[in-house]
Symmetry: C2
Subunit: 200 residues, 2 copies
DNA sequence: GTCTATAGAACGATAGAC
DNA sequence: GTCTATCGTTCTATAGAC
């Protein structure tokens, strides 16, 4: 309660909105769209249903607002490291070390993404928005790879865009498997596969 | 109505069960687990709730039965081809050709799978059962690979279990991306990556 | 007549909307 | 906080196979 009267009405409104969206993100990620009630979102944010309906006309709109938020935000990426030009082995090893923690820390983000993917299979407008984001991610990835190989004067083993797609597929797939069945995602799966795919 | 009175009780029961499972598969794929009521499943199959609860103790069990049904019917996939010892390139090429059709034909199953995975992330007993299936699939895959390399007198580029996990991750991830954003899953991504990963 | 798969009403809980 | 809808589940009655 440092400043009790420093927020204008609009600021307070924006703050409430943000709190509701954050709470919704966590709840949706944890329990799924249908598994979450407006009540639960409101309560998690420290408000009541009334606040939710003051900001979003219904549950679907809340969801779409969340999607937009999600899409404009940054995906957790390792791009800088890729471009740094460190050896493939050390790069892959670093990533591997970070993986278990990352799976845990990005669990919400990941399952929210999966939630969106699922929705996108049933709603074409959602699918389109998500697809745009995938294309952008692929292009970013490809650009990083390009830089990396150029800096080292090496040639990629597979055409660069294809390699980027393959890496995205592998990473997403591995994280999906890791959620369900961590016992088969043993030490070294990630780094060995990455090294194998990236090695010139 | 060819034969009105040729079904024994057991036959009728089995037929009902099959009809319920088929209806459930379609409904779940189209609307998601939480988006489908037991009533809807029953009606789609031409029965009522009573029939559903006579065959499955609850909604989760219905879902699990669906999973078992699918997984047991799917096992004979690319396995024989893998073991046949054909060259990696022709093997990968064959699979690639089959891919677009497969993505389309398994679209329903794909979204069901994701639905299941998401569900399993939120329910530990479901997660455990799904994880068992993943382990078995990984082991089967690894055994096929083992046979293949042994037959050709070659060595796998990565420890065989890790390779199997990586392939599963890649395939699942690629099919996921293909659902949302087919434009980045260009021709050759699958076969080139597969060849790269399998090449001794 | 007995048994049981199924129909369908009834119940308690919970949701979204306002 | 209320109102209405709907859900998963349980329970009971019944029709038809044995």
């Amino acid at each position: 309660m440092a400043q009790k009267r420093r927020l204008t009405r609009d600021e307070a409104k924006a703050q409430t909105r943000r709190a509701l969206l954050e709470a919704a993100a966590e709840q949706f990620a944890r329990h799924g769209f249908n598994g979450v009630s407006i009540d639960a979102v409101a309560e998690a944010a420290g408000y009541t249903k009334g606040a939710v309906y003051a900001h979003f006309s219904n549950k679907d709109e809340l969801y779409l607002a969340l999607l937009d938020d999600h899409l404009s935000g940054e995906a957790p990426g390792a791009t800088e490291q890729l471009e740094s030009g460190a050896s493939i082995e050390s790069f892959a090893g670093d990533l591997e070390e970070a993986l278990p923690g990352q799976i845990e820390s990005t669990r919400d983000w990941g399952s929210l993404t999966f939630e969106f993917i699922l929705h996108s299979m049933r709603d074409d407008s959602v699918r389109g928005r998500l697809a745009e984001r995938f294309v952008r991610a692929r292009d970013d990835y490809a650009a990083s790879l390009e830089k990396r190989y150029a800096a080292n004067g090496e040639d990629p083993p597979i055409e660069i865009e294809k390699l980027a797609t393959a890496l995205m597929a592998f990473e997403n797939g591995l994280s999906m498997i890791g959620f369900v069945c961590p016992e088969i995602v043993t030490d070294g799966v990630y780094s060995a596969t990455l090294a194998r795919l990236l090695d010139p």
